[in-house]
């Protein structure tokens, strides 16, 4: 069986649809089309610059977010550490902080060295030295009074 015998000839389809080719729209359709186009164009007018949006690829957006988070973290980190130190030693002064830093760095360097214990004793003995100095001073004053 020939396959082309089962096919409707293209010329026949062409002829049948030729009657529709002469179809013309009503006259008022042009006005309606133009009205809707003008309306749609008015709606499509570009907004002011701060209300515009831009589209960027998701990988770029993710990378930008990661960079922003890392930058913020690295900027805030020194302040957070300083805050923690101040919380741990609320009455510490700047000089004491420096001494503590010095102590800790020394401790790291010579953890099992006897030098550390000597330094600590010296620092801890400072108030007693001051007291003894005061005592001596008052004793001297008493001597002056007696004379």
């Amino acid at each position: 069986m020939n396959d082309s015998e089962d096919l409707l000839p293209e010329e026949l389809i062409d002829e049948a649809l030729a009657s529709l080719r002469s179809a013309t729209p009503p006259e008022d359709l042009h006005q309606a089309n133009m009205a809707v186009v003008h309306q749609a164009l008015a709606c499509r007018a570009e907004p002011v610059w701060w209300r515009r949006s831009v589209s960027i690829p998701i990988p770029v957006a993710l990378a930008a977010s990661v960079v922003l988070v890392l930058t913020t973290t690295s900027l805030l980190k020194p302040w957070v550490i300083l805050g923690e130190i101040q919380q741990a030693a609320p009455v510490s002064t700047q000089s004491e902080l420096l001494v503590d830093d010095f102590d800790s760095s020394m401790a790291e360097e010579t953890e099992s060295s006897p030098t550390w214990s000597v330094t600590r004793s010296y620092i801890h003995s400072l108030p007693s030295l001051v007291n003894s100095t005061n005592y001596k001073t008052s004793a001297t004053e008493e001597k002056h009074d007696d004379s």
Partner: protein, 182 residues
């Protein structure tokens, strides 16, 4: 070619004059396409208006060159048509509406027979599945090339050729069964 590119740029920018030219160029083919799809002139007018409204929204997204404008316009028209079918399952206009476009003067017998055959064939084309019907209308009514039909429908050229072949087989069967009944 340069002026065609310039025209396309104007459309993308939303130039009112360019859109007026677009309406002048496409309002008759679009109306004809919608009317041929269902035979309802009122619905064809409504769909034509909807189509131009959609075109203003979607034309800035057209990435191709001027050659792609016509398939793009008809791709938007197909979307309008499909949306309409989904929205309301309207009954097709009776066949008597088809000869409205034909000369109304009293024709000779041969012309009457030809008009009846044309009406039967148009009805048969409309009875095909929606995409195949669109393929036939674009190919034979709007005289699109197969490549343009493929672009408008969004299917490969091979599929369009296959649709045309199977559609012609189906139309042959439909018309043969009708003539057998008579």
């Amino acid at each position: 070619m340069e002026s065609a590119n310039e025209y396309l740029r104007s459309l993308r920018k939303g130039d009112a004059d360019a859109y007026e030219a677009l309406v002048r160029r496409f309002e008759t083919p679009l109306y004809r396409y919608f009317f041929a799809s269902h035979g309802d002139p009122q619905l064809a007018c409504e769909q034509s208006v909807d189509c131009f409204s959609d075109l203003v929204e979607s034309l800035p997204k057209l990435t191709g060159g001027p050659d792609q404008l016509r398939p793009f316009v008809f791709a938007v028209a197909r979307n309008v048509l499909r949306r309409q079918w989904r929205r309301q399952a309207r009954e097709f206009a009776p066949l008597s509406s088809v000869p409205e476009t034909i000369d109304n003067s009293p024709p000779p017998d041969a012309t009457i027979v030809a008009a009846e055959e044309s009406a039967e064939l148009i009805e048969a084309i409309r009875s095909l599945d929606q995409t195949t019907c669109d393929v036939f209308l674009l190919r034979f009514l709007e005289q699109f090339s197969v490549a343009e039909v493929a672009e408008a429908v969004g299917e490969p050229i091979g599929t369009i050729k296959s649709r045309l072949h199977r559609g012609r087989q189906r139309l042959h069967k439909i018309l043969q069964s009708k003539s057998d009944l008579q």
